[in-house]
Amino acid sequence: MKLYEDSACFEPHSITADCQSLMGLDGGSATNSHSTLEDNLNLSSYNPHQHEDPSAAVELEIQQHYLLDNTTTNNSHLIPQLTQELSYDESNWDADQQSFNMVPSSSSPEAAYPPAPDLLNLFHLPRCSFLSNSSISFETAPASSIVYDPLFHLNLPPQPPVFRELLQSLPHGYTLPADEKEASGVAGLYHDGDNGILEFTRDISMAGRGKGRDKAGKTTKHFATERERRVHLNDKYQALRTMVPNQTKNDRASIVGDAIEYIKELLRSVRELKLLVEKKRCGQERSKRLKTEDAASAADAGDVECKPLGDPDQCYNTSLRSSWLQRKSKDSEVDVRIIDDEVIIKFVQRKKINSLLFVSRLLDELQLDLHHVAGGNIGDYYSFLFNTKIYEGSSVYASAIANRLIDVVDRQYAAAPPTSSTCL
C-alpha cells in the first residue's frame, strides 16, 4: 500500500506520456517501450477476467468517463461520438486479441464496481505519468479531443486510441518528477510508450507489487481504490477552487495558494465585521442612554456625549479598524484597504468604458467622501487610486465595497459594446 500512498504524493500532476507524445514532445520514444509494453500486456493477459466482452467493457468505461465530465450537457452528444469511435477502433483490435484483452481485464474488476467509482477511476488514470512540464487544464473539453487522434492511423493495436484522447482531456498540473521516480521506479520503464491509461497504471501497481501476474487481480483492486481516492481528492480540490473568488490558474498549487489568501481575507473581514457590529451596538446603547437621560434632565444631555471609561455601558472598543481585500475579474481588478475611517481603493480596468464615472457614482452610493483621486491611462488599462473617507455613522465594510465595485464595473464593461480602436 505504501506505493500507492507515494503515488498519492505526486498525483498532483501528471500527464501520461501518451499525451506527451500526442503533443509531439516525445514521439520518438514511443517505439522503444512498445516491446516492453507488449511484455507487460502479455503478463496481464493472464488475468482470469480477460474473457469478458472486451468492447462492451471498454465502451462502458469510456462512456462513464465522459459522463463524469463537468459539462454534463455535453453527454448526450459525446456518447454517440464515443460509440462511433469505438466501433471504428474495434476493427484494429481484432488483430491483436491478446493485447486487447488487456483492456477489459483491467476494466472488468471496475465494471464490477458501481459506476461512480469507475468513472472516477478512469478519469484519473493518467495521473501517474512522468511529464515534467506539461499541464492540461481541467476545462479542456473532451469533446474536442475525441475527434482528433494523430496516432490513430498508425494502427497501434494495444492501445485504444480513444483512451489517449481521454488522457489529453484530463486535468493536470505539473508533476513532481522526484516523487514519481521514487514511487514507481519500475513503472517508469513503460511510460514512454503509447500506453493506454489502464495498462500504464496497471504497470505501476504490478511494479509496486514486484510480482506480475499472480497478484494481478489483487493489484487491480488496490489500484482501483487508489484511483478512486485520487479522483475524490481531485474533486475536493475542485470544490475548494469553486469556493474561492479570485481564481487564476487551475493547478493544485494555485488552488491551495488562492485558498490560503482567501481564508486570510475572510479572517480579516470577520474581524472587521465584528468590530463594526460592536461599535454599532455601542453607539446604539449610548444613544439609548442619551434618550433616557434626555428625558430625565435636558441640561446634562450635552455632557453625556463623551462618557469616561468608568461607565459600565461603555464599549472598550479602541482598536483600530483595518481591513484589506482584493477582487479580480477578467478585465478588472479592485483593491480595497480600510484603516479606521479611510478607505483606499485601487482600481484597474481595461480601457473600454468611462470607468471613472461608474466608480465615482458607486462611491457616492456607499457614502464615501472623495478626498483624492489620481490615475489615468496606462497602456491598455485605466488605473485609478481613490482616497476616501467614510462618513461618520456609516458602517460600510471592505468586502461590501469591493464586491459591489467589481460587480458594477464588470456589468458596465460587459454591457458596453466593443469599441474600435481609440480615435485619438
Binding site: H232, L233, K236, L240, L356, H371, G376, N377, Y391
Partner: protein, 211 residues
C-alpha cells in the same frame, strides 16, 4: 487564534528563584518560602511541560493529516467563515435602520466647505488649455460637496468628454480637478467653448446642491 498562544502564556511565568531549597537560604522562614516557591516552580514546570506537550501533539496531528483531510478541513473552514461573515453583515444591516446619526454630519460638512473656501480666498475657477492637438488640459476648482465629482463626470460624459490622466485633490472645502480631456468622438475641442461649458457646469452643480 488561540493556538498561537499555547505554550507562550506569559502570565504564569514568575521571576522566582527556581533553584529551590537546595540553595542555602537563611532561617526557617526562608525555608518555608523556598518550599512555597518550589511548589510554585514545580507547578510552573508541570504546567509548562503540559502545554508544550499539547502543542507538540497538535503539530504532529497537523503533520500527519493526509491531503484529503487537509483539503476537506479547508473547505469546511472556508464555509464556516463565509457563514460567519454573512451573519455578521446581516446583523450590521439590521442595525443600520436604528442609527440616527447620519443626517447631521453630512450637512455640517457641506456648510463648512463653503465657509472654509471663503476664508482661504479660494475661488471657483475653470481653466482650459490645449495640449498636443486634440487633448485639452482642464483645471477646475469648485466647492466640494457630496457627489459633486460625480455630477461633473456625468456632465462631461454627456458632452462627450473623456477624462484620461486625472488628479483630484481636496483642500479646505474646495476641490481641485486637473485632467487631460479628449473628445470621445474624435472631434477637436475649442478652448473657449469648453471653458464656458465647464463654467456653466460647475455653476449648476453649485446651484443644484443649494436647493
Amino acid at each position: 487564534m488561540d493556538m498561537e498562544f499555547v505554550g507562550s502564556d506569559m502570565t504564569e511565568i514568575s521571576i522566582t528563584d527556581h533553584r529551590g531549597p537546595s540553595i542555602g537560604r537563611m532561617g526557617r522562614r526562608r525555608v518555608q518560602d523556598d518550599e512555597n516557591k518550589e511548589f510554585k516552580s514545580k507547578n510552573l514546570h508541570a504546567e509548562r511541560r503540559r502545554r508544550q506537550k499539547l502543542s507538540d501533539r497538535l503539530l504532529t496531528l497537523r503533520s500527519i493529516m493526509n491531503k484529503a483531510t487537509i483539503i476537506e478541513d479547508a473547505i469546511t473552514y472556508i464555509q464556516k467563515l463565509q457563514k460567519t461573515s454573512d451573519v455578521l453583515s446581516e446583523q450590521l444591516r439590521e442595525m443600520e435602520g436604528s442609527s440616527e446619526e447620519e443626517g447631521k454630519p453630512a450637512v455640517r460638512i457641506q456648510i463648512d466647505a463653503a465657509a472654509d473656501m471663503k476664508k482661504c480666498g479660494i475661488k471657483e475657477e475653470v481653466k482650459v488649455t490645449t495640449i498636443d492637438g486634440n487633448k485639452l488640459l482642464i483645471k477646475i476648482i469648485l466647492e466640494k460637496k457630496k457627489g459633486c465629482f460625480t455630477k461633473l463626470l456625468e456632465a462631461m460624459n454627456c458632452l462627450g468628454f473623456e477624462l484620461s490622466e486625472t488628479s483630484v485633490t481636496t483642500f479646505k472645502g474646495a476641490m481641485l480637478i486637473s485632467s487631460c480631456v479628449q473628445g470621445i468622438y474624435g472631434d477637436s475641442l475649442m478652448v473657449e467653448q469648453t471653458q464656458e461649458l465647464l463654467l456653466e457646469i460647475i455653476r449648476s452643480i453649485r446651484e443644484c446642491s443649494e436647493i
